[in-house]
C-alpha cells in the first residue's frame, strides 16, 4: 500500500505513459495517434514537475518566513518541452490535414491500400 500511495505521482505518470503509448501503437486513426502522443508527452511533463517538488517547500519566490522552496528548474525545463510538444502536435495535425486532402481518408489501413 505504501508503495502505491507513497509514490502515487509516479503511478499516475506510468499509467498515463502506457495509455498514451498504447494509443499511438494500436490506433489506426491518424488524429487518435496524435492524441495518444500528447498523453504520452504529458505524462513525461508530470514526471518532471513531480520530481521538482520538495516536501513542505513553497513556491520558489523569496519571501519572509519561508526557507524551504520547491526546485523551479524542472518546471522551466518543462515549459520548454511543452512548447516543443505544441509544435509537434501542430505539425502532426497539419500533416493529417494534408493527408486527408491527398488521400481522402485519415485511416491508416485505407491509406496503405491506396498506396
Amino acid at each position: 500500500m505504501e508503495l502505491f500511495l507513497g509514490h502515487y505521482n509516479y503511478w499516475i505518470v506510468i499509467l498515463l505513459m502506457m495509455v498514451g503509448f498504447y494509443t499511438v501503437i494500436s490506433r489506426g486513426n491518424l488524429v487518435k495517434k496524435i492524441a495518444g502522443l500528447n498523453i504520452f508527452q504529458v505524462s513525461v511533463f508530470l514526471l518532471y514537475i513531480s520530481i521538482g517538488n520538495v516536501r513542505d517547500g513553497t513556491t520558489p519566490i523569496i519571501a519572509e518566513g519561508f526557507t524551504q522552496y520547491s526546485n523551479p528548474l524542472p518546471h522551466v525545463l518543462i515549459l520548454t518541452a511543452i512548447v516543443v510538444g505544441v509544435a509537434t502536435t501542430a505539425l502532426g495535425l497539419a500533416l493529417v490535414v494534408r493527408i486527408k486532402e491527398a488521400y481522402g481518408t485519415i485511416e491508416e489501413d485505407d491509406i496503405q491500400n491506396a498506396g
Partner: protein
C-alpha cells in the same frame, strides 16, 4: 573576437537567418541567403576544428553563466568533427539545391523551404555544440521538426505519410530521451554533461540510473534508425525531395550516432556500458542490421529506397563499432560516420541528378541512363566502390578499422559479417550499375542529356573527397584518435 564566440556563432547565425529566409520573397534570394550562411558555418566549423584538433577544449559559457548552472557549449575534437560534417554537407548541398529545388518545390513554398532547411541545419549544429543534455534535447527537436516538414514537401503524396510516420516515431524517440534525462536529473541534480560524468560514477548501481540509460539508448537508437527501429527511414528517404534526402542521409543519422557516443561514453562512461547488456546488444543489433538491411536493399525496386536500406546497414557498422567498446572500435565508428557522410552524400546526389532528368527514382524508369549520363554514372560507380570498401576509397579505411577491432577481440563471426556485408553491398550496387549501364535505354529516354553542371560539380566534389580520404587518412584517423582519448574508452 570571432574566435571567442566561435561555437555560439555556429548556432546563432543559421538560427537568425531562418526567419529572414522565411520573409524574403520567393525566388532565388532565400537560396542565396542560405548559401551564404552555409558557407559561413563551414568556415566557422573548420576554424573550430583547427582550434581543438590538438586536443584542446573550447568551453563556452552561454550568457556568462558558469557551468554547471548555465548552459555550456563544450567542443572537443569529436564535436568539432561532426559539426564539420554537418556544415560541410550543408555547404556542398546548397549549390546543388538551386536547380533541384526549382524543379521539385513549387515557387510559393520556396522561401519556407529554405527557412526550414536553415532550422534543420541549426538544430543539427546545435546538437554537436552543446554540453548540456536538456539543450541537446531541444536542438534535437528543432532539427527533427524541421526535417518532418522538409520531408513532407516531396512531390509524391506518400511523402506526407512518410513524414507523419517519422514524426510519430521520432517524437517517441525524443520523448524517451527526455524521460532518461529527467531520471538522470532526479538522481544527480545536474544537466551538464561533464558534471554528470563526474557525479554518475558514485551512483552507477542505482536502478534509476540504469533505467535512465535504457531510455536514452532506446530513444537515440530510434533517431539513428538502428535495426529494428529503422522503419521510418526507407520511406522518409525515398519520398523526400532529392536535396533533403542528400542532406538528411549524410547528416541526421550521423549526428544521432554522435549523440549515442556522447551519452554512452561521456555521460555514462564505457565502464558502465560494459556493466550493462548494451554493448552486446549493440553488436547483435548491428550485426542483424548489416545483414537484414543489406539483403533488403538487394530486393528494392527504387534507387533511393535501395540506398536507404544500405544506409541502415551502414548504421549497423557504426553501432557495432560502439559495441566493441574498444579504442579501435570507437575509432572505426567515428571514421565511418565521416566517410559514410561522404559516400551516401555522393550517391544520393547522383541519384538526385537522375531524378532531375527523368523525374523518377524507380529502377524501371532508369534503364540505360548510365550511357547517356556518363558523369552521373561515374559518380555512382566510384561512390559505390567506396560503399563496398575497395582499397583506395574512404569506405575501406573504416571497414579496415572495424575488422581490426573485431580481430582484436577475436570475434570471428563479426569479421565474417563485416566482410559479408561488403559482399552484399557489391550485389546491390551491381544491381544499380546493371540497370543504369547494361539495360537498353527506353524509348522515352532517348534524348536525355547529362545532368547540369550545378548538380554534377557538388556530386563530384564528394566523389573526389571519397578518394582523397581513402588515401590521406591523416585528418579522419587523427581526429578520431583524439576524440576516442577524450571519450576515455577503457579496454575491455
Amino acid at each position: 573576437m570571432i574566435e571567442t564566440h566561435l561555437s555560439l556563432l555556429l548556432v546563432a547565425i543559421p538560427l537568425l537567418a531562418a526567419p529572414i529566409a522565411a520573409i524574403l520573397p520567393n525566388g532565388r534570394l532565400p537560396w542565396l541567403l542560405t548559401l551564404v550562411v552555409t558557407w559561413i558555418t563551414l568556415v566557422l566549423a573548420a576554424w573550430q576544428l583547427w582550434v581543438v584538433v590538438d586536443g584542446d577544449i573550447i568551453s563556452y559559457e552561454l550568457g556568462g553563466w558558469a557551468p554547471p548552472w548555465g548552459i555550456e557549449y563544450r567542443i572537443d575534437p569529436l564535436n568539432a568533427l561532426v559539426a564539420l560534417i554537418v556544415a560541410g554537407i550543408g555547404a556542398i548541398t546548397l549549390p546543388y539545391a538551386l536547380r533541384s529545388v526549382e524543379q521539385e518545390i513549387p515557387l510559393s513554398q520556396r522561401s519556407l523551404f529554405y527557412s526550414a532547411f536553415l532550422l534543420c541545419l541549426d538544430g543539427l549544429l546545435g546538437i554537436t555544440q552543446t554540453g548540456d543534455v536538456f539543450n541537446l534535447f531541444v536542438f534535437l527537436e528543432i532539427s527533427s521538426l524541421s526535417s518532418y516538414a522538409l520531408i513532407s514537401m516531396g512531390r509524391d503524396r506518400r511523402a506526407l505519410t512518410a513524414a507523419y510516420q517519422y514524426l510519430i516515431m521520432g517524437t517517441i524517440g525524443a520523448t524517451f530521451l527526455l524521460i532518461g534525462i529527467g531520471l538522470l536529473y532526479a538522481e544527480t541534480g545536474t544537466l551538464n554533461m561533464m558534471d554528470l560524468h563526474a557525479r554518475l560514477p558514485a551512483i552507477l548501481d542505482h536502478r534509476t540510473v540504469h533505467t535512465a540509460f535504457a531510455f536514452i539508448v532506446v530513444g537515440v537508437a530510434l533517431k539513428l534508425a538502428l535495426f529494428p527501429l529503422h522503419l521510418w527511414l526507407p520511406n522518409a528517404y525515398t519520398y523526400a525531395p532529392s536535396v533533403i534526402t542528400v542532406f538528411l542521409a549524410a547528416t541526421a543519422t550521423k549526428v544521432a550516432v554522435y549523440v549515442m557516443l556522447r551519452m554512452v561514453f561521456t555521460v555514462f562512461s564505457s565502464g558502465f556500458l560494459l556493466l550493462t547488456p548494451a554493448d552486446d546488444l549493440f553488436l547483435l543489433l548491428g550485426m542483424f542490421g548489416v545483414i537484414i538491411a543489406s539483403v533488403s536493399a538487394i530486393y528494392q525496386h527504387d534507387a533511393k529506397r535501395l540506398l536507404a536500406y544500405s544506409s541502415i546497414a551502414q548504421i549497423g557498422y557504426m553501432v557495432m563499432g560502439m559495441g566493441f567498446a574498444s579504442v579501435l572500435g570507437v575509432t572505426a565508428t567515428i571514421v565511418h560516420v565521416f566517410n559514410h557522410a561522404l559516400m551516401k552524400g555522393a550517391l544520393f546526389m547522383a541519384v538526385g541528378a537522375l531524378v532531375y532528368r527523368v523525374g523518377t527514382s524507380s529502377l524501371d524508369g532508369l534503364h540505360g541512363l548510365g550511357r547517356q549520363m556518363p558523369w552521373t554514372f561515374g559518380a555512382i560507380f566510384i561512390a559505390g566502390l567506396s560503399l563496398i570498401g575497395l582499397p583506395g576509397t574512404a569506405g575501406f579505411i573504416s571497414k579496415w578499422y572495424l575488422v581490426l577491432a573485431a580481430l582484436e577481440q577475436q570475434a570471428w563471426l563479426l569479421v565474417v559479417v563485416i566482410l559479408g556485408g561488403s559482399l552484399l553491398a557489391v550485389i546491390y550496387m551491381w544491381k544499380l550499375v546493371e540497370v543504369l549501364f547494361f539495360r537498353p535505354a527506353g524509348e522515352s529516354h532517348s534524348n536525355v542529356k547529362e545532368a547540369p553542371l550545378s548538380l554534377l560539380v557538388p556530386t563530384w566534389l564528394l566523389v573526389l573527397a571519397n578518394i582523397y580520404f581513402g588515401i590521406n587518412t591523416e585528418l579522419t584517423v587523427n581526429v578520431a584518435g583524439q576524440a576516442v582519448q577524450m571519450l576515455e574508452v577503457i579496454v575491455k
